[in-house]
Symmetry: C2
Subunit: 366 residues, 2 copies
């Protein structure tokens, strides 16, 4: 019985006037860690996410899902996951019968997010899904609907929302330290290698750099301002003779206008390395460079004096463990994740507007 | 007799088979400093430019032009300029009769550049004109025509082209240190004060932040790439209820696409402080921050390793003296300035395209 069912039962019991103390104790069990199944055992899942369950307080790794039997064996043994908790994509739906699994964390190529989310929800599991939420906004809507119909939570893996420097930047901006935000420069890109990887396959990735790395620039402008853009301009530069870019875009730059008058100039690139943003208002700026990397964030502020390094307020744990625990906590307490499916959908809608603006050579209103 | 006339005479003499040695010696007199008249005695002229004649090798300050008698007296005395070499705007045209003056350096509000250039050329003087060259591209064309008709040189005060860090950045980029340029981020802005200043008066300034400070972002993208943009996107954000921005724009952000596929994301602002650019290619980046300030430039490169501070190759003198001497040298040697009127016109044409793009909400092709 998962905690959601327990809570539902508890509420029913309370409504019926049943003495609820023993049940309440069970539902709120502070020592219970929710069980995660990791679906898709690539680099990010196995090297970055799975080791971070060690620092989790409310989450544990209990199952693996992969299309590669050797990976299931290797990582199953490494993490002590019994064979009964290892699934192929064919046997995945049987996870419905595994009460240890509360959450399925989907870390596959983008265009597969929808189907696995739908299957996980149908199996009665909550879903953590990597960014971008899906290849299209329509897929995002279907995923939201599937989780809603199943009464399960859906969260998108926007880990930067749990990272100390980014939390500090949001706080500075929202507290008005810069005055009203006037400009944001956000640049995310890396030099992509192997032309055969799924990120360069349109059918699997849904798009190019914007889907994979530029989304960090976009998402940052939204969490920094707390606003939704009302207009977007975009421009693309892709060398189609480069074997890496036969199907997807390399560079796409975009401009956003927010209701307050705040603006953003953003880069997304597969042929340039950067990972930074700077938010500026009349009173100064806050800058993180690198901003959304796995580690090594570095922050400077200019608030009256010269630019000065700034150490953010410490967080309880690293961004990965905090992200994993956030969904567990939301499930246990019945709250919505701060980066729900709606949040992922908003990014995809803007991404589609960015592509449209670049294609049609015009400002797209949102 | 000014050096241009000498050279013309020399050429005529050579063509006629006249023994030219004595004349040649006179024309190339390496100790001759060309005489500048400074027109417009505001902050930039009096605090920044005039003190820098001290380091010039081929230029000297010989005359002043101002609408304010007290300024003529104060600065005339300070710089030892006799009353015979002090002009009001009414008496300015008499400068034609002053053989000490070779060049008129125009440092007035933008929309007055054209008329003073035309008058200076008519008086037989060469012209140095501050950026932006004029309020409109049409004015730029008229200025070029006026100087051409008078057989006089026209140079625009793009001082960064003579500044060590900028010269080093151009060299790094052109030498291919970054690989092909993929992205340029260039941000220039400051928080403007007094709503009554000429920069905020449309009739005098021709436009807002883009004319005054954003032009540094634009010009940098062009001198860094050595290319001319083929398309521009732009977006404006101006609070028209702010008394400073009744007539001109505050923030205008623009995107440029160059023939090579290089791109630029630029900011121009009157409500945010920044002065920087970063050029990125697959092999790394070069960044200057501040980039185009009067002093204090600071450079970093990332070329294979982590970002590293870089000291540029030293230049003979400061950017201001070098700019002044460049025009003198061009006049003495008959070469075109590296930042001629054509260069100023190119920026104005793009500026007009930026305004058009923001106004019409579409990509403007150039």
């Amino acid at each position: 019985m998962d905690p959601m069912s327990k809570r539902t039962f508890l509420a029913a019991g309370l409504a019926a006037g049943v003495a609820a103390l023993p049940l309440r104790a069970g539902a709120a069990d502070p020592n219970r860690k929710l069980g995660y199944a990791i679906l898709g055992l690539g680099y990010y899942a196995t090297r970055i996410i799975m080791p971070r369950f060690a620092e989790c307080e409310q989450s544990r790794l209990v199952a693996l899902v992969s299309g590669t039997p050797e990976k299931l064996k290797t990582f199953g043994e490494q993490y002590g996951i019994p064979e009964s908790h290892r699934y192929s994509y064919e046997t995945f739906d049987r996870i419905a019968d595994n009460p240890d699994v509360d959450i399925v964390y989907i870390i596959t190529p983008n265009s597969l997010h929808r189907t696995f989310t739908e299957r996980a929800a149908k199996a009665g599991k909550h879903v953590m899904c990597e960014k971008p939420m899906a290849a299209t906004a329509a897929d995002c809507q279907a995923m939201i609907a599937a989780c809603k119909a199943a009464g399960r939570k859906l969260m998108i893996g926007y880990r930067s929302r749990f990272q100390a420097h980014n939390i500090e930047a949001i706080k500075l901006v929202r507290d008005g330290a810069l005055g009203p935000v006037r400009t944001i420069v956000a640049d995310h890109g890396f030099t992509i290698g192997d032309p055969k990887q799924w990120r360069l396959n349109k059918a699997l990735a849904g798009g190019g750099s914007l889907m994979d790395i530029g989304i960090y620039s976009l998402n940052a402008t939204r969490y920094l301002t707390g606003e939704e853009p009302v207009a977007v301009n975009a421009m693309e530069s892709t060398d189609r003779s480069d074997p890496r870019f036969k199907e997807v875009e390399d560079i796409i730059s975009f401009q956003l206008l927010f209701p307050s008058g705040a603006t953003a100039n953003c880069y997304s690139a597969y042929s340039a390395n950067f990972n930074r943003y700077r938010v500026t208002g009349p009173k100064g700026f806050v800058e993180i460079d690198p901003a959304t990397s796995y580690q090594g964030q570095s922050m400077r502020t200019q608030l009256g004096g010269p630019p000065t390094p700034r150490e953010p307020a410490p967080t309880k744990t690293n961004q990965f463990s905090a992200q994993l625990d956030h969904l567990s906590e939301c499930i246990l307490t019945g709250r919505e994740p701060i980066v729900s499916g709606e949040e992922g959908l908003k990014d995809l809608r803007i991404i589609e507007a960015i592509y449209r603006s670049a294609r049609e050579g015009r400002t797209v209103k949102l």
